[in-house]
Amino acid sequence: MPSRRSRLSRARSLGLVALAALLLGGCSQIAGLYPPAAATDQGQRIRDLYDLVFAIAVVIFLFVEGLILWAVFRYRRRDRVGLPPQVHGNNTLEVVWTAVPMAIVAVLFFFSWQTLNTVDARAADPALKVDVVGFQWQWQFSYPDAGVTVIGLPDSPPELHVPAGQTVELDLKSQDVIHAFYVPSFLFKRDVVPGKVNVFDFRIDQPGTYRGQCAEFCGLGHDRMTFSVVAQTPADFAAWLAAKKATPAPSAPAGAAAGSAPPSAGSGQAASLSLSASNIAFGSASLTAPANTAFSLTFDNQDQGIPHNVDIKDASGTSVFRGDVVTGPARTSYSVPALKPGSYTFVCDVHPNMSGTLTVQ
């Protein structure tokens, strides 16, 4: 009897080991259990560390989960006769299962510290520096050496162009709330904190486009704070930068018909309106403009470092005029084409919660 029983339990434990090996192999094959392929050098180091942590985690998971299930099924008893041996503890076992996890976490800490030092290392002279400003609710990328600025709107996210194969430094700044610059393929994110500048380096080896978005909850438009990183060959990047420099920036997105109608035909002097924006709100909730005549709209953005614009939409929500985005404090004058009588809404494209009504009569 005992020999048969021990053979049975040996077969069972062999089966268990085989099952564990199978699961182990299975887990390492499922792509979804891993982060995406790393686009950057730094991301590749993080990926290597992830693979190590993941392998150890899977082994521990299968071992401990196996022990729990084994204990439950092996020692399940429906009859409740007698008492099992009353074991109160075992000091050797306690020492073992304190020391072994201690050793495992020491190893993990050592490797993650080493990886941290490479990932956080900064180049003395990066090939390119870009200022990244996160604002509610989009991004602005500035190339200070070239004098080029790219600014995003919720429906037209910006592209951060960088040269492939070269080290790029990002200086992260915020004027309002906390955001986080996150590109999943970098396996990396860094918070964009008002009141301080966070800096990190990265190097992308192959040209390609990588999507990114804000990872730190920042209010209403958080889910729309997307952008992409476009890595180009250095020659293509230089060409892109030169082309950008040639066109005045920042410009309204394509499709916004700014001033498509000819200036007012009739009345000699055009009407003039004014509107201000401060603390992420328009100064007035309603404006009145004359019908069928072009007018000028003086827009005063008083928010330090925060971009706003004025977008006039008709009752159906179609944009009839979209002003350029200006970063405060700044004042601009929009020339609004002649509008038919009716009720319109005006909003800030950057901050969809800023709105008011425009009555044209």
Partner: protein, 540 residues
Amino acid sequence: MATTVLRPATTTYRTGLYEWLTTTDHKKIGILYVLNSFLFFLLAGLLALGVRTELARPGIQFFDEKLYNQLFTMHGTVMIFLFIIPMLAGFGNYVVPLMIGAADMAFPRINALSFWMLPLGGLLLFSGFLTGGAAAEGWTSYSPLAQAKYAGMGTDLWLVGLTLIGTSSILGAVNFLVTIFKLRAPGMTLFRMPILVWTVLVTSVLVLMATPVFTSALIMLFIDRNYGGHFFDPATGGNAILWQNVFWFYSHPAVYVMILPAMGIISEVLPVFSRKPLFGYRAFVFATSAIGALGFSVWAHHMFTTGSVFLPFFSLMTFLIAVPTGVKMFNWIATLWGGHIRLASPMLFAIGFLTMFLIGGINGAFSAAVPVDFALHDTYWVVAHIHYVLFGGSVFGVFAGIYYWFPKMTGRFLDERLAKVHFVLMFVGMNLTFFPMHLLGLAGMPRRIADYSPAAGWSELNLLATIGGFTIAASMLPFIWNVLVSLRSGVEAGDDPWEGNTLEWATSSPPPPYNFDHLPEIRSERPLFDQRHGLLGSGH
């Protein structure tokens, strides 16, 4: 034989509403805590269903961002502050005086006060929905997003509500500590206390040290918003990261406040249903204390990506805290090992705790490796982690406790068949909901977004999680039905239905006011076991 004579039983539990509103009896207050917390559990669960419904498919279908942000903010806040923490405090209230052979808590009136602050605080939190929008900055309420410039009046209600709830917690902690240190029955030395009492003791120390910091931070933010305090707003010379430091200095220990008593509950259930003592009682006590102590040195691991943290220190401490947690896991397994295991409903949920909390422990270790956290922080991976800890851990622990002590509280058993349906639905539902979130996080889905692009490739996993969410909701139906039916016509349980180890099973079910006519002799952490089998049988 040391026999303690206390005031004899007088009245029964069939008392009116007035009695429930004015009671200072720790058992009634405990039941009030449990009922109140369960109500908020259902409400916060509905909010989570709202979140899951909106995320089922890409696009904005049911809730716009404005409402969506309120849904997840209130879901997190209510689950943590009005469900898990007070639910466990409720068990503590009901069970701790019974377990240490006391007649009541040390300060019965303060006990009633700390309970009644909870529904009031909850009312304030929810009243935001009627005054132009509840708080919508996430349960972490980071500054400057929570400043008056960006957040409406719902945030003020949130701050005032949480200040009340925090004060209630602090009062409760003082009450527990005095009760445990001063009111133990003769013979009940510290190292003969049931493990649940130990976990409540350590939890109370955590609350006493951390919650006042949090309450101060809440008041500072309130001053910032309403009286120009400039503590946390960099636009006016404050510091945004300061809020995160004080917030997490409380909120990380708060995670242990939410898990230690649940660990205590299953440390009572596992020995009873294995018919063995808890393996390594002293190691367990030391591990609990170690978790409590280390818990104060890991708060900044929530802030690895801020660029304002000394990373190696907090990484090391975070790795270290896995060790005492691992010790507990092995002690639990060793308790099962060689036992006579009976899979009654409390045991099912306790084993559910073991299998799921294990995942919550392991996926947390990923974030201790700082560079890996750079990838995972603020993604759905973190949402998966916290739910494997707080749902897989705390919620399974809570239900183990409900099935275990329901016969003590009411004198009747809950139905075992309905309990199994409840368990299976909840277990399957939670894994369907939260496991896909690991994959979503790895694929780069940030938390707290109302919408995502159909091109992102996250649609199927989100749909799966939503189906899981509704499965969890469905699991509540057999449970609620079970409670309602069993209260009327459940099988009578008697004083000691499970062959328990601890003193609460030495009195009637439900226990009379002031709990005990007389107490058995206390010579170990299992006085009832000793009484049943003699000291020889218990292996001393």
